[in-house]
């Protein structure tokens, strides 16, 4: 790839959604005709109350669900098996296989993800006092969540998708999570961070998307929204989603 191509690829959005809808069976549409563009190098807050379709949208971007209609282009290619190489995804659930060790998990990441930085992962795990030879099944839920976060952030991906990374954790763990995320994010990478706990992450958000049952309610630069409405994002969230 020559210099011009590199510049071009950095100028193109990391993610584009065109007319994306999703419905389950005959039920009502969860997402309807979404059109969005995610630039590179940003931290985007995907905000909304429970059940508004945040996780569905994330699963569509990750290729875990198929849209009912519309197209999703990630890093220049349609979402599919190949696009998964460009997404480092942290789901809400603990996904670690119990029958391998921590080092076995690292080997698995090394095998399948060309962008996995094993040295970084090892340093982070060691700093957390996690034994690399420990079997996953012997570890506590909290340690498993930390390992999962470390593995996710040890990839040098153009796109990180973090689904409710700070939900249900204590303040100390919250600090660890946010510190791990933002101290390991490559500058040119984009983070899509789904949460309904705005206050803790508001300072790091570049852009926000307020997602509602009928699609995007409000979206744009966090700074501009604050200036335009004279409120912080947390206050704006409460106002937008007031019952």
């Amino acid at each position: 790839m020559n210099t011009q191509n590199v510049t071009d690829s950095l100028n193109t959005p990391i993610l584009t959604l065109s007319g994306v809808s999703k419905s389950y069976g005959n039920a009502k549409e969860v997402l309807s005709n979404l059109n969005m563009t995610f630039p590179r190098g940003k931290v985007v807050g995907l905000l909304g109350p429970n059940g508004c379709g945040k996780t569905t949208l994330i699963k569509l971007i990750c290729g875990l669900h198929q849209p009912t209609s519309g197209t999703i282009i990630l890093n220049g290619i349609p979402v599919g098996p190949e696009s998964k190489a460009f997404i480092s995804y942290l789901p809400e659930r603990t996904y670690l296989p119990n029958d391998i060790s921590v080092s076995g998990l690292m080997s698995l990441f090394l095998d399948f993800f060309a962008d996995f930085d094993a040295v970084r992962a090892e340093n982070l795990l060691t700093a957390m006092g996690i034994d690399l030879n420990a079997r996953i099944k012997t570890l506590s839920k909290g340690t498993k969540e930390k390992i999962q976060l470390i593995m996710t952030m040890s990839r040098r991906s153009p796109l990180y998708i973090l689904d409710e990374p700070i939900a249900g954790v204590d303040p100390a763990a919250r600090d660890f999570i946010l510190d791990t995320i933002f101290s390991n994010k490559p500058p040119e990478s984009t983070i899509i961070l789904s949460t309904h706990l705005i206050y803790d992450i508001e300072p790091v958000l570049d852009d926000v998307i307020f997602l509602g049952r009928n699609g995007v309610i409000l979206g744009g630069s966090a700074k501009e929204l604050r200036e335009h409405y004279g409120k912080n994002i947390d206050q704006l969230f409460r106002e937008v989603y007031r019952v």
């Binding site: 875990l64 098996p81 998964k84 603990t94 996904y95 670690l96 029958d99 076995g104 095998d111 399948f112």
Partner: protein, 271 residues
């Protein structure tokens, strides 16, 4: 990528199955040696029965366990890694869904085959030595050599037999292998159907399994009737029907595999 998937699946499952195979080998060797040793120490038939019968009983249990355990274990692993929380890792690997299902199916089949073979070998070894000792013989080196010679003669004879018989043997071996693969793939299919449920997914899989089994049983019954009507005519007719059965089993394997891949690719429903 397929090679890496198969490698990782083997690594993750090796410990469990190697222990199972080791248990089979240890059991076979232990029962054979203990029968031989005890047979040389006493001539009392009642006492010999007391020692050999439990091992005969355990041996007859070990073979089905060695065959059934890997099928259930493979099914459980498939559920956990494809339809439960581990699915978030598995389905985010940059590989197509067919590779995921294929790698798990191939590794599951290899382990079922290996543990069945070792289970059977262990069973045969313990049964043969116990039977010889119970018959009142001292098991000697010439007995072992005699068994090897008998096996050699069987193989030599096998090379000169009627091609139609060879065809039957090959077909039966093939249909056994395909049935084994089908037993694994049909469970995978039921798991793929069960994961479509929002809750009680294991129950959904079990119900799908019963439903699928009912359909399979009807098909097998029809096939058996046809078999009896047509196959008794001649060996050639028998072979044609047997080949059709093999093809049908292969087709069922392919259908189970394709529907499983389709469901996980287009209807994945991770919680």
């Amino acid at each position: 990528m397929l090679r890496k998937l198969i490698k990782n699946e083997f690594v993750a499952t090796a410990k469990t199955y190697l222990i199972l195979i080791l248990v089979c080998v240890a059991f076979g060797v232990f029962t054979a040696l203990s029968s031989i040793l005890f047979g040389s120490l006493t001539d009392n038939p009642a006492l010999m029965m007391l020692v050999t019968l439990p091992s005969l009983f355990l041996g007859s249990m070990l073979f089905p366990v060695a065959m059934a355990f890997p099928i259930f274990h493979s099914a459980w692993r498939f559920y956990k890694s494809m339809a439960a929380d581990e699915g978030y890792l598995m389905h985010m690997l940059p590989v197509p869904t067919w590779m995921l299902v294929f790698s798990k199916g191939i590794v599951g089949t290899v382990w079922v085959l290996l543990s069945s073979l070792f289970g059977m070998a262990s069973y045969v070894l313990s049964q043969a030595t116990s039977t010889i000792v119970l018959a009142g013989h001292d098991f000697t080196v010439s007995d072992a050599l005699g068994m090897i010679e008998a096996l050699e003669n069987m193989l030599k004879k096998g090379l000169n037999i009627d091609p139609n018989i060879v065809f039957v043997i090959v077909n039966v071996a093939l249909i056994t292998l395909l049935s084994l693969i089908l037993s694994i793939l049909s469970i995978y299919l039921c798991i793929a159907i069960g994961q479509l449920w929002t809750a009680h997914r294991i129950l959904g899989s079990v119900l799908a399994y019963f439903a699928l089994n009912a359909v399979t049983n009807i098909l097998v019954s029809v096939m058996l009737v046809l078999f009896v009507i047509i196959a008794v005519e001649s060996l050639t007719a028998f072979n044609i029907v047997l080949s059709l059965c093999t093809l049908l089993t292969a087709a069922c394997c392919v259908a189970c595999y394709l529907v499983t891949v389709h469901l996980f690719k287009n209807k994945l429903n991770l919680q």
